[in-house]
Structures are given as structure tokens and as C-alpha cells.
């Protein structure tokens, strides 16, 4: 497997009236061909912003990518000129957003919107683009695709619209499909359908997938690799079974402890994480999780720990990794 995407030291800030928001604070990771990566964290951790930064979709002002590089096929996406970037976006790297109603143009038919990408990126004629679009809709499970293609977005349900978004994203056979919380607003049975669909398409088309979510269950179901983010940093990273099997970062441990599980027996009090996430305008020095951490040491308050290996490809950023070594999730 070769490396498809390499993010190094990505940094994004938002310059607002209240101050400078340190949204993404120097994150680095790689994505191999055909791999599935989950970026997980709560709101404000920087998971969406980091990915939008990669594709330079951050509104600027007030946002600004202040550092780092994002190498895709050996070229830095952050330094490409607009024309080159246009050839990448929607074509080699495609994205599906959380709210399909704001990404789909309400006054254009699905046919118009699907064929647009095909005509622009693949230089298909109208007839061929329409035929291909119908095939795409069938591939994502829209019944009576040849009739529904003439419908408008409001005539589809939420789950169906998301399928249309996926069809649009896949239309040019991208190498990377990015989903930014695409199932968060959907019912759980519809979410299951969409996850199943993405898995099937991923296997058939061999594309890499980046899935952004706050749902640790979705991550366990769908991905092979996980980045856990907090306050604009990656705090833990690695293969999904390693991370869930041996949690090492105190934030990840605390997060898992606060989750109720569908398959648990008996009743155990949820371990809520006290306090609130830090203010990204005035991030304290040291580790951003220190004020809420059960394993905090003096050092944590002044120095921010780097990511270090805890076994194989599994890394975590913590000064007190010895303490979390013994952590075992309570048996369910």
C-alpha cells in the first residue's frame, strides 16, 4: 500500500473579534491507498476544520491556514494554484457533508447536479453523463433511478439525499472519499444502510475513505485507522483494534467511560468528564486536556506532550503513559 495523502504540521487559525481561535494546531498523519481513516472527537476539536483546510474550503477571512503541508500524489494541496486545485476537488478527492440540503442546489434537478461534475471533470457529453448518472444512482440504491433523476432535492428524504450526495461524490471515481459527519442527522437504521453502502462501494472501487464523526460506535463499525482529536490536536492515533483494545490517552479513556453501551449488562454509572473543553482563543500552556485529566502530572501544565509510540502503529500524546498502561475497560 502506498501513501496517498500526507498531512504534516497542519495549522489553521480563525481571526475573530474576540481573538485568534487556534482551531487546528499542528497535526500530522498519512493515509494509504484504499485505507479507511476515522477522525473522531467532540464538537470544536478541529476534526472538520482540519479536513476543510486540506481542501482549502475554509472561509478566508476569518480563517487562515497558517502552517503545514498536505501532500496528495506528491503535490502540496496548500500551495497549488486554483486551477490545479479545481482538478483535485470533486474529482480526485470528493466530499460528502452533514446536511445534504445545503450541499444540494434546491432549484436544480438531481440530473443537472450529477451531470455537472461528469461534464466538467470527465468531459462527458450530456447523453453519456445522464446515462452514467442513472447508473450511479442505482449503485447507491435509489429505486426507479431513471425517473427519480428528474426530481428535485426536496422530493427526497434525508437518507435518500445523502445517497445522492454519495453518488455525486463518487461520480468521477475519486481516490479519496471524505465524509464530514454524513450520517449524524440520520435515523439509526438509515445510518446503518449508508455505512453499509460506503463499505461496499469502498471495497468495489478501492478508494480511500476519511470519515469524520463524534460517534465512537460508527468508527468501530467502519474504519481501520483512527485519529482522536481534542482542542485542535491529535491526541491518539492508530489501528482501530489497537486503540479500542488498549486505550492509552486519558481523554480517549474518559470518553469511552462516559459512553453507555448497547450490549452492557447491569447498570454502571457513567463516568462523566467534568468541566468543559478549553477555549481555543486562550489555550492554556501545556497539554490541553490537563485541567480535566485524571492522570495529570505537574509537567502536563507547562509542556504539551508529543505523540509517542505505545506499540506498533499506535501512538498517544501523554506524559503519563505509564499510568494508563494498566487501564482495562471494565468487563461488560
Amino acid at each position: 500500500m502506498s501513501t496517498l495523502l500526507s498531512v504534516r504540521g497542519l495549522e489553521t487559525r480563525f481571526y475573530t473579534q474576540e481573538g485568534v481561535v487556534h482551531a487546528v494546531n499542528g497535526i500530522s498523519y498519512t493515509l494509504d491507498e484504499g485505507a479507511t481513516l476515522g477522525i473522531v472527537g467532540e464538537s470544536g476539536c478541529g476534526k472538520s476544520t482540519s479536513v476543510l483546510s486540506m481542501l482549502r474550503l475554509i472561509p478566508s477571512p476569518p480563517g487562515k491556514i497558517t502552517g503545514g503541508e498536505v501532500l496528495f500524489e506528491e503535490r502540496d494541496l496548500l500551495k497549488m494554484d486554483r486551477e490545479e486545485l479545481r482538478h483535485v476537488r470533486g474529482n480526485r478527492i470528493a466530499m460528502v457533508f452533514q446536511d445534504p440540503m445545503t450541499s444540494l442546489n434546491p432549484v436544480l434537478t438531481i440530473e443537472r447536479q450529477l451531470t455537472e461534475a461528469l461534464q466538467v471533470h470527465m468531459e462527458m457529453g450530456h447523453a453519456r453523463a445522464t446515462k452514467h448518472s442513472i447508473e450511479l444512482l442505482e449503485m447507491v440504491g435509489i429505486p426507479q433511478a431513471d425517473q427519480r433523476i428528474k426530481d428535485y432535492p426536496h422530493q427526497f428524504s434525508g437518507g435518500m439525499r445523502q445517497r445522492v450526495m454519495i453518488a455525486m461524490a463518487l461520480s468521477c471515481n475519486p481516490q479519496i472519499l471524505i465524509g464530514d459527519e454524513p450520517t449524524t442527522s440520520l435515523d439509526v437504521t438509515i445510518q446503518a444502510q449508508i455505512i453499509d453502502l460506503v463499505k461496499r462501494l469502498r471495497d468495489e472501487m478501492g478508494m480511500a475513505v476519511i470519515w469524520i464523526t463524534h460517534d465512537l460506535g460508527v468508527v468501530a463499525r467502519l474504519v481501520e485507522w483512527v485519529n482522536v482529536m481534542y482542542a485542535g490536536y491529535i491526541v491518539e492515533m492508530g489501528p482501530v483494534k489497537d486503540i479500542y483494545g488498549r486505550l492509552r490517552h486519558p481523554y480517549t479513556i474518559a470518553l469511552m467511560g462516559s459512553l453507555p453501551r448497547l450490549d452492557q449488562t447491569g447498570h454502571q454509572r457513567l463516568q462523566a468528564i467534568e468541566g468543559l473543553p478549553p477555549d481555543l482563543i486562550s489555550l492554556p500552556p501545556g497539554c490541553p486536556f490537563a485541567p480535566r485529566c485524571d492522570y495529570v502530572l505537574d509537567r502536563c501544565l507547562t509542556e504539551n506532550p508529543p505523540l509517542e509510540s505505545v506499540g506498533g502503529d499506535h501512538v498517544a500524546a501523554c506524559w503519563n503513559l505509564e499510568a494508563t498502561l494498566g487501564y482495562q475497560r471494565s468487563s461488560r
Partner: protein
């Protein structure tokens, strides 16, 4: 639960919203059958979880139960008296014993009122206590929900979502109710705040002997907090039983599919799980199918399901189900 005293008894409750057409003269051309004949008991001291996906009618059930919507038909007995028959002052007095916590902590607090006024309002409306007593009660309530009484003069916008929800809880407790309908009280929050709010609700239940109807779509959280659980689909309850039985031995095909769809944060478990993926989407509540409402998507559908609506009946002690396959 030692005693099984019925606090709330709902019988064949229906709430249909008329669909009207016409310009000068409006005619009713149909109805959205949001709640279409639900029956259940809530025992004193328990938490009854009410789950289902969007459009199933769970929120409407909660509101109709409290008479925020007047039912189309059916009865709601609270401590033995039918709320549906009550009006005006009589109903208002019952309202002191039953309260609601809402989903959206931003929309459910008046932004122009101080926290103190918001929590005091129920006491003023029901003319309870003197001015000093109300003040003391507000302080007590803030402490009960883990907030500093000093906050009485602050406005909602000065607080985080989780804190606003605590204010909502304090307001709901002001009149010392015995029963609280929690309508998706945690859906708006991140996971770590959800745990804080749920722990608070559990502590209050233990300390004050509260009874909850907990409406939610998060099945993992419902499992955690509930004593018994009812599953709704398209306006009807399809299964109702104690928490452990529902999750370990569901009888209704929709319950099975719903449970199977919920992801578990454990990749090893996820790999081993048997999956039931439902095809299609929920039909419109304005036009439910003939026969069983679930017949358009049920993996175990039979001919009779297209003809006869299954009866909601007790298939085992304390286990109710509406399905031709069972019982």
C-alpha cells in the same frame, strides 16, 4: 422496583393532525396519524424509555400525555384521574405534578429572563409560596442541579448548553412534581456532556423519588437509564418490556433491526455481530399501509401482515408486542 403502583395509565391514545385544503372554506382531506392508538402504564419510581426513529410519534406521545396537545381520542389517567376529561383550573392543578424537560436548551429558556425568573416562573404561575419562600426555593433548586445559586441574576446566553439544560431541569423541579417527561433531553449535546446530564437525572430520581418518561432515539443511552422500554414505529408501539429483555431477546422484527443498526464502540464486537439491514424508508404517517405499519420493510413479512393490523398484546408476563409472528 418494590411496589408496582400505576402512576400513569395511557389507553388507546390517538393524536391525529388534520390536513386541510381549500382557500375560503377549509376542508379536511386527510390526517397525519402521529399517534395512532398507544396504550401503556408507567409505574411510580420507574423510568419508562420511549424509543423510535424520527416521525414515529414519540415526542407527540409525550406532549399529548401531558395535554400539551389535546388527544383526538383515548384516555390518560394520572393517579387514577383522567386528564382528558379535565379542563381549566382542574387541569392546571394537575400540571403541578407533571412536568417536562425539553430537547433544545437554547430554545426552551426565555433569553430575556434571568435564570432566577425562569426557575421562579412556575411558582408564580401556580401561586406557590411567599416571595421569600420562592427565592429560597430557587436557590435550593440551583444547588440541586449542581449550579451556584449566585447565578440567579445571569441570563441564559451566559451559559453553555449543558448548563442551560440544568436550568431547564431546575425549572421542571420547581413545583415538586412526581412525574417528568424528558423529551430528548440529551440529543443536543456532546457525549461527555450527555453523561453529566444523565447522571444528574439519575441522582435526582433517587433523591426525590421521581418517575420519568424518557423519550430518546439513542438506544444505548435508553438502555442505560430505563427500567422498561417501549419501541414506537409510525404512531404505534410495537414492543414494550423490561429493559434487559428488550435488548437481549427482542420479539418484534423492527426492534431487532433497530438494535442491530446501533453501532457498538468495540470493533471486535462489531465484526461478530449479525446485521439486519432494513430496506426502504418509513411510510408517511398521513398514509400508513393497510395492515401492519411495518409491512413495507419487514424482513419477516407474511401475507396476513398486508391485511390485518396486529393486536398489541401481552405475549409473556410484562412483555407486550404487536406482531403476527408472535403470540
Amino acid at each position: 422496583m418494590a411496589q408496582k403502583e400505576v402512576l400513569v395509565r395511557v389507553e388507546n391514545l390517538k393524536k391525529h393532525f388534520p390536513i386541510r385544503r381549500g382557500f375560503l372554506i377549509q376542508r379536511q382531506v386527510g390526517a397525519i396519524k402521529a399517534v395512532d392508538g398507544v396504550s401503556f402504564d408507567i409505574y411510580r419510581g420507574e423510568t419508562l424509555g420511549l424509543v423510535g426513529e424520527s416521525g414515529c410519534g414519540k415526542t407527540t406521545t409525550g406532549r399529548t400525555l401531558l395535554q400539551l396537545y389535546r388527544p383526538t381520542s383515548g384516555s390518560v389517567h394520572f393517579e387514577g384521574e383522567d386528564l382528558v376529561d379535565m379542563k381549566g383550573e382542574q387541569l392546571r392543578r394537575q400540571r403541578r405534578k407533571m412536568q417536562m424537560i425539553f430537547q433544545d436548551p437554547y430554545a426552551s429558556l426565555n433569553p430575556r429572563m434571568t435564570v432566577g425568573r425562569i426557575i421562579r416562573e412556575p411558582l408564580e404561575v401556580h401561586d406557590v409560596g411567599s416571595v421569600k419562600e420562592r427565592q429560597d426555593r430557587v436557590h435550593e433548586l440551583l444547588r440541586l442541579v449542581g449550579m451556584n445559586p449566585y447565578f440567579v441574576n445571569r441570563y441564559p446566553h451566559e451559559f453553555s448548553g449543558g448548563q442551560r439544560q440544568r436550568i431547564g431541569v431546575a425549572r421542571a423541579l420547581a413545583l415538586n412534581p412526581s412525574f417528568i417527561v424528558c423529551d430528548e433531553p440529551i440529543s443536543a449535546f456532546d457525549v461527555s456532556i450527555q453523561a453529566q446530564v444523565v447522571n444528574l437525572l439519575e441522582d435526582l430520581q433517587a433523591d426525590l423519588g421521581l418517575t420519568y418518561l424518557f423519550i430518546a432515539h439513542d438506544l444505548s443511552m435508553v438502555r442505560h437509564i430505563s427500567t422498561r422500554v417501549a419501541v414506537m414505529y409510525l404512531g404505534k408501539i410495537v414492543e414494550l418490556t423490561d429493559r434487559d429483555t428488550l435488548y437481549s431477546d427482542p420479539q418484534h422484527p423492527y426492534t431487532e433491526a433497530l438494535l442491530s443498526a446501533v453501532p457498538i464502540p468495540d470493533p471486535e464486537v462489531e465484526e461478530e455481530r449479525e446485521r439486519v439491514i432494513l430496506e426502504g424508508e418509513v411510510p408517511s404517517p398521513a398514509n400508513p399501509p393497510v395492515g401492519c405499519n411495518f409491512n413495507t420493510r419487514c424482513p419477516k413479512v407474511m401475507q396476513v401482515c398486508h391485511e390485518v393490523d396486529p393486536e398489541f398484546k401481552e405475549i409473556a408476563p410484562g412483555h407486550w408486542c404487536a406482531c403476527h409472528l408472535v403470540g
